[in-house]
């Protein structure tokens, strides 16, 4: 209630209105494509392609029903769940342990290692994909969840390590020392004493790893067929031969979006922490 205490400054009020209007536009642009997909998925197909767009209509769940009951989409969902769960369960323990070591000890080789990890981000993806493709062709690994999980875990290690290292740096050095003196082994001290302290960090890392695996596309496109194909690839390959396909793929897209959107809305705080943590630590 600023205006009650101070005389209203018309210029400040105008600036405030303009800023708010700008923010409304930004929010609208962010949400519009998602809203449009949702609308298309709920519209009868004949209303999906009108110009100007039809904003008011009787919604139908027919396209969602079709996608989830009459196509193999549920199987792709199961594949996505296997891949994401497997990735998180492998990637987080591995990454946490490495990060703990890299936070606890300092030396030139360790510094060099940390930078090498950053460089992984620059590896051209096709260059890594070719050996896996040749391997998959020559063995039984083509179209298996295991192959995809292992690749995503490796690709995710640098990120998981850098993120978790930031959290471990905040843990007082004396904490594991005390546990060691009390007769715990290194691993025992880590699991029982250090890990509980950085639980929010583990949570954030798991969240991002989940998203990373959920969104992976190129490796899955080449290395999976009918058995292990995840949602991301399935939706991109969904054809457009018939007009209904647009409605169906909108329903599929909304199905893939929905969990992520819910996730973000619920977990917003952790997400921001994860994104900005490494940055601000330098």
């Amino acid at each position: 209630m600023v205006s009650r205490r101070r005389p209203l400054d018309p210029r400040a009020a105008l600036a405030r209105i303009l800023l708010t209007a700008a923010l409304v536009v930004v929010v609208a642009v962010s949400l519009l494509p998602i809203y449009f997909a949702l609308m298309t998925s709920l519209k009868p197909t004949r209303l999906a392609f009108t110009m100007p767009p039809t904003w008011i209509f009787t919604p139908t769940l027919e396209h969602h029903r079709f996608i989830w009951l009459e196509t193999p989409f549920p199987r792709y969902l199961v594949n996505t769940l296997i891949i994401t769960t497997g990735t998180v369960l492998l990637s987080i323990p591995l990454g946490c342990m490495a990060a703990y070591y890299l936070a606890r000890y300092r030396s030139l080789p360790i510094q060099a290692l940390l930078f090498t990890l950053l460089a992984v981000r620059t590896f051209p993806r096709i260059l890594l994909l070719i050996p896996f493709f040749l391997l998959a062709r020559a063995t039984e690994l083509y179209d298996t969840h295991v192959l995809i999980i292992v690749i995503i875990v490796a690709l995710n290690q640098p990120f998981a390590i850098w993120l978790m290292r930031g959290f471990f740096l905040d843990v007082p050095r004396e904490l594991p020392e005390a546990a060691l003196i009390d007769g715990c082994g290194s691993l025992g001290a880590f699991v029982r004493v250090v890990l509980p302290v950085v639980r929010p960090g583990v949570f954030t890392a798991a969240l991002f790893t989940f998203l990373f695996a959920y969104n992976e596309f190129l490796y899955c496109l080449i290395l999976t067929g009918t058995r292990a194909k995840p949602l991301s690839v399935a939706i991109a390959q969904y054809g457009a031969e018939r007009i209904e396909y647009w409605s169906w793929s909108a329903a599929g897209a909304v199905g893939i979006l929905a969990p992520v959107v819910l996730f973000i809305v619920v977990m917003q705080r952790h997400l921001i922490k994860g994104l900005t943590f490494g940055t601000l630590k330098g």
Binding site: V27, L128, V260, G282
Partner: protein, 291 residues
């Protein structure tokens, strides 16, 4: 190195590093080796050809086209994202109602599966019934054919990337703005600095390392764009949106030229390493000196 540290290294570091070496570095070395071979997949035997693949790549018009497309895409997308992202971050930093809610909404595009985001954007930019051309028609502009138009196709992907990735810039810079210590800001106000002066002389120097960080991350990722191209245009019309990664994909998995595709990958790696080294030098050395 103490015995304790040696044991810790074995327990904590070695598992993760083994995975990295086995799954990333070994395959990488393998493909670098492959780049010296002629390996056409339907022909089972590969033969050593020395630098022939590299000579082919450097003389290949499609490679230079793809490099040009990628450079144009990356510079346009990253430039727009930085400017827009900084503006939105400043906007969020101003006292504005419902800020938390707005941040959540603004973050959403970033988390969406890129392939799905590409699909959403394909619908937005559809020339006949897409919302973009509809809104343009409301203000009396006849929208272009976007993805079907060689002149506009790359811009459709740039704008799709802007939609999806500006939030990353926003969130990093916003966090930076929030963590600026209050003292210099107050000192500037006491000294009678205008808002613009404060922005230029106090806020911007503080944000500079973050801007550089965002610039590096976004450039590296934009340089590798694939998913949205695959979904939105498939590299077309013609090859007007064929980026380096997309051309690399075509070479490996449509033309089945494994050796040549590896060589293209190696060339890409070299280009990226040079560019990133320059960026990293700027980030970690300059900031200690005159920055």
């Amino acid at each position: 190195m103490t015995r304790q540290q040696r044991r810790d290294r074995l327990i904590f570091l070695v598992p993760s590093m083994s995975v990295l070496v086995l799954i990333l570095f070994y395959p990488l070395a393998y493909s670098i080796g492959l780049s010296f071979y002629n390996y056409y997949l339907p022909v089972p035997r590969k033969s050593f050809v020395g630098l022939d693949n590299f000579r082919y790549i450097l003389g290949d018009d499609a490679f230079w086209d793809a490099l040009g497309v990628t450079a144009r895409f990356t510079s346009a997308a990253v430039a727009i994202e930085l400017v827009l992202g900084a503006a939105v971050a400043l906007l969020l930093d101003a006292r504005i109602p419902c800020r938390r809610l707005a941040i959540t909404a603004i973050l959403l595009p970033m988390a969406i599966t890129p392939a799905v985001a590409g699909l959403l954007m394909r619908w937005m930019f559809e020339s006949n019934w897409g919302l973009v051309n509809y809104f343009l028609s409301l203000v009396g502009v006849r929208g272009p054919g976007w993805m079907g138009d060689p002149l506009w196709a790359l811009w459709s992907i740039v704008l799709a990337d802007v939609w999806q990735n500006t939030p990353f810039v926003v969130i990093v810079l916003y966090a930076g703005l929030q963590s600026i210590p209050l003292d210099p800001l107050e000192a500037a106000m006491v000294d009678g600095a205008s808002r613009a002066q404060t922005l230029v002389h106090v806020v911007f120097p503080f944000l500079r390392p973050l801007v550089l960080f965002v610039l590096i991350i976004r450039s590296m990722d934009a340089f590798r764009i694939f998913d949205q191209v695959f979904v939105m245009t498939g590299g077309g019309p013609g090859t007007t949106t064929q980026t380096i990664t997309f051309y690399n994909y075509v070479m490996a998995f449509r033309m089945l030229r494994m050796g040549r595709a590896s060589a293209l990958g190696v060339v890409t790696l070299l280009i990226l390493s040079v560019v990133t080294s320059v960026f990293i030098y700027l980030l970690y050395h300059r900031e200690k000196g005159e920055w």
